[in-house]
Amino acid sequence: MRSTTAPATITPPAAEASAPAISLRGVAKHFGETVAVRNLDLDIARGELFSMLGPSGSGKTTVLRMIAGFEQPTAGRILLDGAEVTRKAPFDREVNTVFQDYALFPHMSVADNVGYGLAVRKVARDELRRQVTEALARVHLDHLADRLPSQLSGGQRQRVALARALVLRPRVLLLDEPLGALDRKLREQMQIELKAIQREVGITFVLVTHDQDEALTLSDRVAVFHEGGIEQVGTPTEVYERPATTFVAGFLGAANIIEPELADELFGRRELLSIRPERLRLSAAAPTDSAPTVTGVVTEVVYSGPATTYVVELRGGTTVMATRPAGDDSASHRRGDAVHLTWSPSDLYAIPGSPTRTT
């Protein structure tokens, strides 16, 4: 039923006859005493836009750097289209990277940056120029071919980095926090563009991010990293709606997590329960139908434009959050108001395994 919720085992979305684009088998990475990545198994399907999501220090960037070849795993194997590349140098792998700071060559023009990989491969001059022009056109930068990177804006540099990597038509494109350095508006625009480009070129994209919105918006599938391991792999809907652990529930947006003891008392279920704030409704009067309900007192009201979040204290002192969209008139409450919380039973979700549960 929930085949995707067990940590680190994956079913690709579509059955592929051929090998996955990337397979990690028992991959671990130690830096001295520090364990950056522990015993990881992961398959990324061809043509997928796959995100590795996690807080800083969770090992996601190390995994990316091992796929690129900048770091050697301490243990385990890395396969690219079924062929082992574990010990191969970065220049021997058909994988290209878009770096977080873009790493454009400062002394080369935009065109020379984009043509670098082709020049290294000794592609004939006319062919090189044709491919560079095409790659720049794809990211809408053909008019800036002669500029130096220092003369470009952040968003433009990002596109040059993308064009420079894509022009080589790699089997896999790795993106390290690709939108991290951009301001919010540009970010949202680039998210859409990135997805369009990925669909157009059909190359497997593996993206590292600490931004859950970015991961949910962009990805076909998401792996949630925590302390060097994968907590859950699944589609954005799966990891958001059906978090495998409390960490996943908490990291992917706010979640109300109800401990088994309290859950037993409130809901009559002795399980670790989670419910998203936007799934909780509030009303001053008790609901007329037979929907389940608990009562509480509003202790804080946080207005954030499109939505308002109410912090509600339940019996026994536990607080939960309920987020209501703007315009939901039935939910204009103030601090100190007594309210009834209601939900659909299907929105109350029992978290299966919680190796990293914190209380």
């Binding site: 690129a68 070849g69 900048f70 220049f91 990277t97 700071d101 454009l104 002394h107 670098y116």
Partner: protein, 269 residues
């Protein structure tokens, strides 16, 4: 920044002007006197002429000393460029046992008094290498200069390398370039200006060096500063000395100026 009262500004300006005048007026006097027609240096100069420049250019000892100085400086600079860059790369990129010690040992010659370096090398050449049949000759002078020239290149290149983004080399490898191509197309262009600036400083340092030269120049070989030292006591050579001094000032100052400009241009972008 402090805000200074006008009176303080004037006073400090005056101090600065006095110090700079004291530093540069004697140099300018020497340079001006090289164009003095008279045999004896004097002030004010009564008639200007290129007479002494012409005489200097026809004096074999001076022409030879200029040649020796240029060859020594170029040789020492070449050695310094190769070794200085290599050691900077090694210390910047790799971690190994004794790394800090080596860093110190490379920089030390610049702090060591020239007379110590000179005597030490002289002893080594005469008492160690000669008995086993190795005549260092002119090359010994070049190597002696290289010991302190390396520091100039090393310091400049290391400072630049430490500010270079290590991701650039990773990006180059990622795009398919092997280590040599990466060095040629990405790493070297990254520290090219520091390399040139260090080389120019090394050249200037070698060109006007005298203490180490005294002890390491083979018999009968004179650099320009050595020629000056050997002719200081002869009053009728004074005007020729002015000419040679002017040449040394110019040949040492121009590289320093160029080196400053290179470093500044690289820092500003």
């Amino acid at each position: 920044m402090f805000h200074l009262a006008p009176a303080t500004k004037w006073a400090l300006g005056l101090v600065a002007a006095t110090v700079l005048t004291f530093m540069y007026a004697p140099l300018l006097l020497v340079m001006a006197n090289s164009f003095n027609a008279a045999q004896i240096s004097s002030w004010p100069i009564e008639s200007f002429s290129l007479h002494w420049w012409q005489r200097a250019s026809q004096t074999d000892a001076i022409r030879e000393a200029l040649w020796v100085s240029l060859v020594t400086a170029l040789g020492a600079t070449a050695i310094a460029l190769v070794l200085g860059s290599m050691v900077a790369m090694a210390l910047q990129r790799y971690d190994f046992f004794g790394k800090n010690t080596i860093n110190l040992l490379i920089i030390l010659p610049i702090a060591l008094p020239g007379i110590v370096t000179g005597v030490a090398l002289n002893n080594t050449y005469k008492n160690v290498l000669e008995p086993i049949g190795i005549q260092v000759g002119f090359f010994g002078l070049i190597v002696a200069h290289a010991t302190f020239c390396v520091v100039m290149v090393f310091n400049n290149v290391q400072a630049r390398l430490s500010r270079m983004n290590p991701r650039l080399e990773e990006a180059s490898a990622d795009l398919g370039a092997g280590p040599l191509t990466t060095f040629r197309k990405v790493t070297f262009p990254g520290f090219r200006t520091a390399f040139a600036a260090g080389g120019l400083l090394a050249f200037a340092l070698s060109f006007d060096e005298i203490v180490v030269s005294i002890f390491t120049a083979p018999p009968g070989v004179e650099t320009l500063p050595l020629w000056m030292l050997n002719n200081m006591a002869r009053p009728n050579q004074q005007s020729l000395l002015n000419v040679v001094a002017t040449v040394i000032i110019l040949v040492s100052m121009v590289p320093v100026y160029l080196s400053q400009r290179l470093t500044r241009d690289a820092d500003s972008n």
